[in-house]
């Protein structure tokens, strides 16, 4: 995981609002993937690149969109994350479920 910080911002500014990563669905199977700092896509959220200011987020999304145009992934978008104890945690129920998979417990024969 790499966090790109905006050097121009004060250390005290509330960077939480801008802590974001990019996710998409992989073209071949639709699985959830995250953009890494090596311009590759990983199934593990731990591998994602995190940015904490708006222009870096725009750059990240642009890189992701370029990747999508190369037909590797579908529908990339930015989403909010928090980092806690070195772990990347998606914010909001939708992104939590995209990371962890269906929460239905007895889902039959989940691979």
């Amino acid at each position: 995981m790499t966090i790109i910080r905006d050097k121009t911002k004060s250390q005290n500014s509330n960077s939480q609002n801008f802590t974001q990563a990019v996710t998409a669905n992989r073209l071949t199977d639709g699985y959830v993937v995250y953009l890494t700092d090596r311009d590759s896509w990983s199934e593990r959220i731990a591998d994602c690149q995190i940015v904490d200011d708006r222009s870096a987020a725009d750059d990240l999304l642009q890189r992701a969109t370029d990747q999508a145009a190369d037909d590797l992934v579908v529908g990339p978008y930015l989403f909010k994350v928090a980092t806690e104890g070195g772990r990347t945690i998606p914010i909001g129920q939708r992104e939590i479920l995209r990371t962890t998979g269906p929460s239905v417990g007895t889902d039959l024969n989940l691979a």
Binding site: L27, G30, A69, D71, V74, G75, G92, Q93, T106, L108
Partner: protein, 561 residues
Amino acid sequence: MYRYDEFDHAFVAERVEQFRGQVARRVAGELTEDEFKPLRLMNGLYLQLHAYMLRVAIPYGTLSAKQMRKLAHIARTYDRGYGHFTTRQNIQYNWPRLEDVPAILNELASVEMHAIQTSGNCIRNTTADPLAGVAADEIDDPRVYAEIIRQWSTLHPEFSFLPRKFKIAVTGSPNDRAVTRGHDIGLRMHRDLAGNPGFEVMVGGGQGRTPIMAKTIRNFLPVDHLLSYLEAVLRVYNQLGRRDNIYKARIKILVQSEGTDTFAQMVEAEWQAIKDNALDLPKEERDRIKAYFGPPGYDDLAGDCPELNLALDLSLAANPRFAAWVEANVQDHKQPGYAIATISLKPHGGIPGDASADQMDAVAALSEKFSFGEIRVSYKQNLILPDVPKLGLLALWRALDGLDLATANAGRISDIIACPGLDYCNLANARSIPIAQRISERFTDLAREKDIGEISLNISGCINACAHHHVANIGVLGVNKGGTEYYQVTLGGVADENARVGAIIGPAFDEWQIAGAVEDIVDVYLRQRQTNEKFIETYQRVGPQPFKEKLYGTDRARQAS
């Protein structure tokens, strides 16, 4: 059962090959996602939260054992070993790989199934009464008309790009088991004074953001004129329906804005202009299609009925669990000596509508042994064996019990309709399935379920209302407040021929409160009910206030009023 003709075979095979080429071009980067998306949707392929989802139509909710085995095979070979039966008589696979989908469609085509018109702004798979052909109150088999509508609407050049999706439901009896008033067009069969069959035509129903029950625009349409009249309705809609605003594009909004009478007049004018053209349905054509849906080779058991009933009574007395299942899940059949058996896909704590590949295979085998190899799929997300000899019920129940398919809860509080919700669906605001699981786990006592009696409880994960929560006695709608799931409750909805939309009872509950709130609602009913009163009858008699007081306390209930 209807068999494809040569045209159907050629058309479906051609579509599979087209899609195979389109997928190859997409994977090779020759098509962008924007170009590919409408093509995959036309073939029933959605991209959901975690994976692709393939929606397969089950026309008029009827499956042969062979088709069910094919569905099981697809689940096992290309998916994760299960499928999800939906409220629109479809099955959805939650995990297919893009490159496997042409092969899946090819497998489906080999048993005369497909995923065409399960998406997009076209006329979708027509819903029919799941008890078609066997219900005691039936005037005529609605599958005949659903099939005629399928043939007419498939790739209809004029109606392939409507302002929005278009759903039709048809029932062959005056009692509505297909939520006809909840569809863009609902067709409910009656007889005229001379005894001829015809349809009451209801238009402009729909749930979603603006729940509206369809209005009757014609009390009686002779069956010969079905297609020309449908064509007239679709033409008026196609010309005047809004294309500028997705939320206002359904026909219900057009009917509402024009007024029912004006809309009916416009349809009438259009119909008069086209009524006597080639679209009429001559009796020979109806009879030709009807022949596919003829009754199976029933044994004449009429003379044996007293003995059959006695034998059944003895089995019931000897086995209370079997008796509970028969009481909840078995319905009368129009043929003496036979019964209709519902196979509940709602085990307590389970996922409503899910069936494993092994269960599907087993149901296929049981249908061959007990029900002439035919299975029905109901919008309540259950399976039905429509033609079971009464003497076979005990053996059938024993077999189902061993498969975890004998939950005695059809039409009861744990027979919950739930959409995939946020666990799978890209449009969802909140999860539905875990809420259904938690609620059903609170009602595992069969005696208590029986005491509560007939009731409907439906849970949708967003305002699109795929689980028909608006017309449930207890409706639960998932909403999202600041990234957190909440659940809004409506009470008093009805889905039958007296269909009506429920009313919001008050502020929403969080995911940990909602199951308790449902229990509270049931408790109020049990305390307030009079002898033999169903939940909905009690609610209609006492109104929402006692429920509000229990849920929110007297003071908050007053504010919520």
